[in-house]
Symmetry: D2
Subunit: 319 residues, 4 copies
Amino acid sequence: MSEPCHDIAHLAHVELLTDRFDESLDFFTRVYGLSVSAQGEGVAYLRGYDDYEFHTLKLTAAGTTGIGHVAYRATSPEALERRVVAIEALGCGIGWIEGDEGHGRAYRFNDPDGHIFEIYYETRRAEPAEGQKSALKNIASRYHGNGVCVRRIDHLNLLAKDVSAIRDWMPKALGSRVTEYIQLDNGRLGGCWFTVNNKTYDVAYTEDHSGMSGRFHHVTYAVDQREDVLRAADIFLENGVHIETGPHKHAVQGTFFLYVYEPAGNRVEVANAGARLILAPDWEPVRWTEADRRKGQAWGLKTIDTFHTHGTPPAPAKH
Amino acid sequence: MSEPCHDIAHLAHVELLTDRFDESLDFFTRVYGLSVSAQGEGVAYLRGYDDYEFHTLKLTAAGTTGIGHVAYRATSPEALERRVVAIEALGCGIGWIEGDEGHGRAYRFNDPDGHIFEIYYETRRAEPAEGQKSALKNIASRYHGNGVCVRRIDHLNLLAKDVSAIRDWMPKALGSRVTEYIQLDNGRLGGCWFTVNNKTYDVAYTEDHSGMSGRFHHVTYAVDQREDVLRAADIFLENGVHIETGPHKHAVQGTFFLYVYEPAGNRVEVANAGARLILAPDWEPVRWTEADRRKGQAWGLKTIDTFHTHGTPPAPAKH
Amino acid sequence: MSEPCHDIAHLAHVELLTDRFDESLDFFTRVYGLSVSAQGEGVAYLRGYDDYEFHTLKLTAAGTTGIGHVAYRATSPEALERRVVAIEALGCGIGWIEGDEGHGRAYRFNDPDGHIFEIYYETRRAEPAEGQKSALKNIASRYHGNGVCVRRIDHLNLLAKDVSAIRDWMPKALGSRVTEYIQLDNGRLGGCWFTVNNKTYDVAYTEDHSGMSGRFHHVTYAVDQREDVLRAADIFLENGVHIETGPHKHAVQGTFFLYVYEPAGNRVEVANAGARLILAPDWEPVRWTEADRRKGQAWGLKTIDTFHTHGTPPAPAKH
Amino acid sequence: MSEPCHDIAHLAHVELLTDRFDESLDFFTRVYGLSVSAQGEGVAYLRGYDDYEFHTLKLTAAGTTGIGHVAYRATSPEALERRVVAIEALGCGIGWIEGDEGHGRAYRFNDPDGHIFEIYYETRRAEPAEGQKSALKNIASRYHGNGVCVRRIDHLNLLAKDVSAIRDWMPKALGSRVTEYIQLDNGRLGGCWFTVNNKTYDVAYTEDHSGMSGRFHHVTYAVDQREDVLRAADIFLENGVHIETGPHKHAVQGTFFLYVYEPAGNRVEVANAGARLILAPDWEPVRWTEADRRKGQAWGLKTIDTFHTHGTPPAPAKH
């Protein structure tokens, strides 16, 4: 086995499309508790209170919903170059862009299902306004306590027609490791979880049965405690946000989860992983079978049907 | 700046010396909630329920207290060799040992204060007894719920006469990064926190005023939630364990802490870091001044005097 | 409106029948965390660590499952006499019994669905064994930390064919107040929650559709924190206990709940009510409609079917 | 022993004086999370989100700090009359007042240390503005999540020169029970905790060494979980509120506490009692000695000096 690759440091940001921009922005700021780093016509750059970068969520007004692009930050300028070489060799490269409000030049490419990824190194730090600096020196911005008040971006979940293709591609493109996966009885992969660092996963892919490609399942921000997830449930309830399922604990990865739909329909999660990390350099991926999955989530909750069908943009209704 | 080093994967285990072996073993198993992987005459190999290795604490009967050695696991056999070369170049190498119950051959060396470290790659996985396998496939052993039931080893704290020397040495020896430090008004370092991975720290050094060298401050296991720390406080209280300080939140690193003395006097911590990780590849070390430290811990608790003086083995009483 | 009655102080204990005595006892002690106050042939007297009376659960070996009797403690000897007069006037009295291990003479009577109740005043205090005394003077026994380690009995839920009849009877018999109820579209009561003190409820009745009478739905012990309920879920999971539903928050009464079946099939709950109490002397009962209930539990969880059908003893299977 | 008295239902509200009205109001609303029921020149009527009455805190601009008056609500009009008779017989009555924004006519009287109390029955319910109604029918107002977002008033602590006199007087005046007390080595009472219902206490008195009378120690609102107290600590920290001590667990009463000073200097607590209630009708008061108290708080925290000296209005500085 070759040595683990560390060219990519971490998931950096997600661009989310919304056809109800004002309502989505209200949700992400007032209810979910992200801060606005910058805002323009039909675009907002948002971050959790302890995200160290300028933005981890870019909200973009569009005619539809779903994902714009996913960005990872490289470990160094040299590591960025190494990844570009590797990605171009895979034949899925798109090319360099100038950068964005929150970072410098970035290299874009496609995953096998057509989602757009980008990697970059040069970044811009979060710049808390004067009253938003923390009393503690080691937090990017103060714990403001507004809404759910999520701490930092944690991971995202994309849909793909062929998860096996993603499993083969992702380690080559980003140097990610597979930490857990679902092996269906038909031999296909039902889902696959990847990480580039010690987090248990930074991106998951699950099978898309809609016939569409490039779809989005959810984006997740981390909170410090499970109690923060329970508190979030009350905040969502009292603000009329549609709670899809949770709070409960996933069997896969053990994440304590809560899923809601933001006003435009994109699924958003609040999660807590406890002290769980992947520290073993030779972690053996955990295989879950259909028989395992029939037991439901960790404490027996049956997975809600929409969790297997709802993605954004939505699939056309079946007749 | 050079690229981060990833030769060392994580803190692996700590050997703790005790002159009250039976009582210490009773504390670590029945009260603290570690499991016994193996036990012999005057030695026990212990692990948290989700430690993936055979042992993370080696308890050794001795005529004194303090630390036997500290072990880190390398990322690969090649990485191990690279580190040995680097360490030997530093002139602090001791040499190879055959290994131990829980791992293969290891290279030993000294830090500038005389503590013994070792690094190895070949390891032995935790082998839960039949009734101790978890209902979940991604946990090393089941959540047994006994005592504090800590999840996994988190970090340790050593004392050193010259913390600045450690700050210079540690990145060269293990490839660690400095994440936070205390700069005293006299120019010396009061404390320094290091990590080899995305954890906020895996070892801390604080200044030893006793004139002794090679002393131990504490070892820490992580629990998933702050509530587990609060629950631990009641378990310690009801079992007559000396609680030194906490639960409270450190300003430095933001750790939610609780410190006790095990029966032989070694300090042991139960801690929760929330969702805090060091993900930035270019993390700028956080500097704390004496003025900062005078504010006490995060929520104002004055640091208890013994925290600055008690280490093991204990210093001779002053006259 | 007449003044509230305070003749009855609190729910005191529940006698539960089991046709798998040894397994049930193992569950209630090792997993659920009750302590044994006394044990005999086919009978065990159990209590939570902070139950002040000798026992709050009497486990009795029987040919079936379900409830033996329910006991409440009166506020004073005089209050006990007043209640007996009132109950006899209702025509549902059974008569005095000598008492039991944990209390003095008691008056027994039937509710309209045939469950057996008893009331008494003279009690016996919990007598922690020497090593089980708490380090704190205001707790009945020490927080031992074993299993779920529930604090004290909280409430029970009985099934009844005619909940409206119970609603009329209970305030007259025990002086209870109705705090919440479910009004079905057909005019019947689907459920009704009662309390004799400031707890939000000490007994609930829900409609029994089985055609049987005198059946039991569940008994509940309180834990201090919601985190204790989440922790209980892991303990149940790792001990192979059937988790029926939860953890989640009830819309009715706002209780954070977790339901399991003990080995004989009796439903048992672990719950946390937060700081919620009924302090208003003129509390207006909260009415829930079928439309309300269709929203599911507080955070949208659909109530699991068995919650409406499973009681003990079980109803014969339908053909 | 006579039967317990239930004439008084619960602690209703506290009037707090402030010489920094605007800053105090900002603290209590934006940081502490109370809602404004009504506001006038130099006066504000505030409540927690699940306080069922119009107000539980009356904030009054004044030339000093400390307490205006303490109010309890009677169980019924008849019970109110009974209490007035009893209080007048004690010779400490002041007389009837017309009422206030939040309640009808009230009877005022003095405790032996000169604090003003009032009792009333006719009340006004909290009237949440349209957007402040809860999605759940059994909560007085919605969980808004702003600031600490305390649930309901819990208790207050007054200072008195002669706590023994209070212990004798309170059960006669309000029908309260003593639940715990501190017996000093000199025979005096250092503190005494009282309740009129199943809460463990609704008022505490501790000894005032200042030579002054009628002073205030603190008022407390309850939150549902200990995690809410920990979260409050971060909110106070980030808003520059002076944290005096905590979070920690009191040995007396077992309350999980956090004390701060609002801008005018009045001490305010956020607390959680877990599932602890006084349900026994014949609860034996718990006696704590000086030897007990020397052990510090439950987990060993030394009680901070100001906790024994700071009250409002402040005592003149000693020379």
